[in-house]
């Protein structure tokens, strides 16, 4: 499988050197016990997420068939592929959302900062708090804008200044200026694009480390889409982002690395510009040039 090698060979620009851990956030991730392991002397190549031989079944349907890949910290990794290829399923495996669906089975390992998120003693609730998710359809809670952002922090026992957290999260999601005068009005009155940025703000408010996005702009018009894309580009300074997208222009605009999935398998993963201009596999080329899919 060339996938693992190709990611390792990828020119890993020292992103994490000039932007070490996401700072400016009071609750920076605690150093992991395993962080002292030998490979820690090269922190820039240590993946944020490492997926090893991941299999996933919906009942009898073998949706993911042995996926292995690394997600680099402070990068945007795009998952592309035709409908039903398993990209959303893969994304939802990364924060254990799939186990909320009955009748599913998972095999393989997913390590976040070296820690197995599917280990017996790992609490899925804590996994989701560290690895947040923005869904395809903006789905604000039927509460005020403020409440939407604050709720996740509240239930996770946030003890800091809630007002400041709400403001910071909304600023990070590039929504603050539009809603600062109506924080206590209903989130349902916002436009679709604003709702989606509110969902991003809500996810950021629990201060995750990784943000998963499942086609976050597919329900939005081009202007709202470009705002979301700007937001994503801005966010990778502080977060690791994995995004599923149907839109290949979008993948090439915002992502640093792209993984192409087909029929539950990872066909190819490379730096985005390489995957779109010099794909190694014929199938990848056929897909990115629009000859199938």
């Amino acid at each position: 499988m060339p996938t693992d090698e190709s990611t390792d060979d990828a020119p890993t620009s020292p992103v994490s050197a000039d932007a070490p851990t996401p700072n400016g956030r009071p609750d920076a991730p605690e150093p992991q016990g395993e962080a002292a392991a030998p490979e820690a002397d090269a922190p820039s190549v240590r993946p944020k997420l490492r997926i090893e031989d991941l299999h996933f079944w919906y009942g009898e349907n073998h949706a993911l068939q042995g996926i292995s890949m690394d997600v680099q910290p402070n990068r945007v990794t795009a998952l592309i592929g035709p409908s039903g290829c398993g990209k959303s399923t893969l994304l939802r495996c990364l924060n254990r959302m799939n186990e909320l669906i009955q009748g599913t089975t998972l095999e393989g390992t997913i390590l976040a900062d070296g820690q197995d998120i599917y280990a017996d003693d790992t609490d899925p609730v804590m996994v989701r708090r560290r690895i947040g998710m923005v869904f395809q359809k903006p789905n604000p809670f039927p509460k005020s804008i403020y409440k939407n952002v604050a709720w996740g922090a509240e239930i996770n026992g946030y003890t800091g200044d809630l007002d400041a957290l709400v403001e910071r999260s909304l600023r990070q999601a590039a929504l603050w200026d539009e809603v600062k005068d109506q924080l206590h009005s209903s989130a349902l009155d916002l436009s679709g694009g604003q709702q989606q940025r509110l969902c991003i703000a809500r996810t950021l408010a629990v201060q995750p480390d990784v943000v998963l996005m499942d086609e976050p702009a597919s329900a939005l018009d081009p202007i709202a889409t470009s705002k979301i894309e700007e937001t994503i580009t801005e966010l990778k300074k502080d977060y690791t982002i994995v995004i599923v997208t149907h839109n290949m222009q979008q993948a090439s605009r915002i992502s640093d690395e792209t993984a192409f999935l087909y029929m539950g398998r990872l066909i190819e993963m490379s730096p985005t510009d390489q995957l779109f201009t010099r794909p190694e596999k014929d199938r990848t080329e056929a897909y990115v040039t629009g000859r199938f899919g």
Partner: protein, 314 residues
């Protein structure tokens, strides 16, 4: 330059005017007028079906209200029942019904909502869950007399509660529990899964998701179901007769273990009397019962609207 094809020259109207005009090649026989007649006839039948129910109901209402109104006054509400029609009232029956409703609600709502939340949000799909579901659905269709027999055996005799308000309320609770459970389940099911997923994705536990989002959003549906179930309970006569609620109660219950009567029983009792005056009294009691029912349904609607507004707003 390609010229547009010239419009087809035809003497036929674009939309055929006669009902039987065949299409150009004869492959369509439109039978327009026959189809129209069937349509009109069907609409008429449907209208008659609707109007039948309405007419019967209105007749019933008018009949009850006209024969009941002369008896309906303050004294009627504040008097105990009496052998003398001029002195008889529904005080004890009305209080009995209100007590019964309060106790029934206290027992059935927490139990029913809790069961529904468990079945919808916690229980894993499997034969056990399906067995329970089928049972609940069947229980909702069991005749109320059967619940009366059960209440008599279980609460009146076995639990030795006697012919008390509590025994009656427990029996009625059993009767409406399936309705409350099923309507609460429906309300929970109607919450978009996106809300749950979003809440989980923020690191919420199952209970936090249910308490902060699912239950508040399902509240309008739950309230509606609860009040409709209570409306059913308030009109039930058979189970109360079976557990031995009294028909002549010249006192007010002072606690849940006191004996009692209720409006449907009082009505049943009066209609069984030979004197025609008691028919009027029964009609008047029916009017009171209906006012109570309408009030409950109105409350259901108002509560639902209130919670729906809150759901949409902050």
């Amino acid at each position: 330059m390609h010229a547009l094809p010239a419009p087809r020259s035809s003497t036929r109207a674009f939309i055929p005017r006669t009902s039987m005009e065949p299409s150009e090649d004869g492959s369509f026989q439109t039978h327009r007028s026959r189809r129209k007649r069937i349509g009109i006839a069907l609409a008429g039948i449907l209208f008659l079906a609707t109007i039948f129910g309405v007419v019967v109901l209105v007749t019933l209402l008018v009949d009850v209200v006209t024969s009941g109104t002369p008896w309906l006054d303050g004294r009627f509400i504040t008097s105990f029942p009496s052998r003398n029609p001029g002195e008889a009232g529904i005080k004890s029956a009305l209080f009995g019904s209100l007590w019964l409703m309060g106790l029934t609600a206290l027992i059935s709502v927490p139990l029913g909502v809790a069961s529904a939340v468990y079945l919808e949000e916690y229980a894993r799909d499997g034969w056990f869950l399906r067995l329970i579901q089928i049972n609940i659905a069947n229980l909702a269709g069991v005749p109320s007399v059967v619940y009366g027999i059960l209440g008599l055996a279980l609460f009146v005799r076995f639990a030795a509660l006697g012919q008390s308000l509590l025994a009656g309320a427990l029996t009625l609770s059993l009767l409406i529990l399936p309705i409350i459970i099923i309507s609460t389940q429906e309300a929970l099911r109607s919450i978009p899964s996106g809300i749950r997923e979003n809440a989980y994705a923020l690191g919420a536990t199952r209970w936090q998701v249910i308490w902060s989002h699912v239950l508040p959003m399902a509240a309008p549906g739950i309230f509606t179901g609860v009040i409709l179930a209570l409306s059913r309970a308030i009109g039930e006569t058979a189970p109360l007769i079976l557990i031995g609620a009294l028909t002549f109660v010249p006192f007010l219950p002072r606690g849940a273990l006191d004996q009692f009567t209720a409006l449907p029983i009082q009505i049943f009792n009066w209609t069984a009397r030979p004197q025609s005056e008691f028919e009027g009294l029964a009609a008047a009691a029916i009017v009171v019962l209906m006012i109570l029912l309408f009030t409950m349904n109105l409350t259901a609607i108002l509560l639902r609207n209130y919670f729906e507004e809150r759901r949409a707003g902050s």
